[in-house]
Subunit: 157 residues, 2 copies
DNA sequence: CACAATAATATTGTTCACAATATTATTGTG
DNA sequence: CACAATAATATTGTGAACAATATTATTGTG
């Protein structure tokens, strides 16, 4: 009774993509004021998460991890350079590349960012199990959409 | 073993929101060329889905259903008016409201849009059961995020 | 009826996200 | 080594999203 055959395929309630779209917007809206205190937007926060793990990165390596391209990242990284969180320097070994590194200011921001997940979680009434389940399912979809069919076992066994 | 306690809370792989963000971007990227043939963007497509179901709508009613506000919808609807898919007229009964209706051109687009879901599904290798499961889980999250706690029983209790 | 309070939409300014294209550097083939 | 092919990043132009604010219309209270 949930087959795509019966009913209108153009019904908003049938769409898979709409809830994802809505959830993404709503989450961004929830993150915004929290991250604003750190002087970050959500995609900028994602860049910092990567850089806090491993540095330096290139525009391309950031794009691979965040599923974004230079058209989005270049201006974003320039803004982050302006606010003093990162540095952008041409790779001497390969002048095509731009190395992205954290500055002292960017490194200092880490401790303040550490309770962002907790603050956010406090604003959402959902238990940890559901969250993990949801995360893994969406991750499976991302893998499929990105063509990493190796990781495409959303709910299989 | 999946508790938020162990490990770094700022690890990209632990984030719930990132997969949702990535999935939303990737899906939009997938929709874009398909909808471009109809002269639509994804949010414009969502507006048409609503209007094909029930008309007229107001800016506010569309916003309620799509979780968007006038700051996003007003310019979007103006563009759709320009392309001739919808009409925007002040409600005579309440001049604050703007009634959004489909034009003949917008109505004619419906049949062409009917196979969008199928074309899209063809591009994603995922079974219907997983999709439905994912959809319902994300829908649960949307309900929580939006404060509709009535529908917030993703897996609670 | 006056007029504050509220409601619905519009505007402004900033930051993404993207396709298409341009620019510059490196690699590969002869 | 020349020079086409490729790779990495940047630029351009369009369309969202959003917070904050402005504008206009209606409602409610006296």
């Amino acid at each position: 009774m949930d087959l795509p055959e019966d009913g209108d395929p153009l019904d908003l309630d049938r769409q898979v993509c709409f809830p994802l779209y809505a959830a993404s917007n709503l989450l961004n809206r929830l993150y915004r004021p929290i991250l604003a205190e750190l002087g970050l937007t959500y995609p900028q926060y994602l860049v910092m998460l990567v850089l806090w793990k491993q540095t330096p990165q290139t525009v391309g390596s950031l794009g691979d991890m965040l599923y974004l391209d230079s058209g989005t990242l270049t201006p974003l990284l320039k803004r982050m350079e302006t606010t003093g969180l990162i540095s952008r320097t041409r790779d001497a070994g390969d002048e095509r590349r731009v190395l992205i590194d954290v500055t002292a200011k960017g490194r200092a921001l880490r401790s303040a960012a550490e309770n962002v997940p907790a603050v956010l979680a406090a604003g959402i009434e959902i238990d940890a199990t559901s969250v993990a389940q949801l995360r893994d399912q969406v991750r499976g979809l991302v893998a499929i959409l990105h063509g990493d069919s190796k990781n495409a076992d959303t709910a299989s066994s």
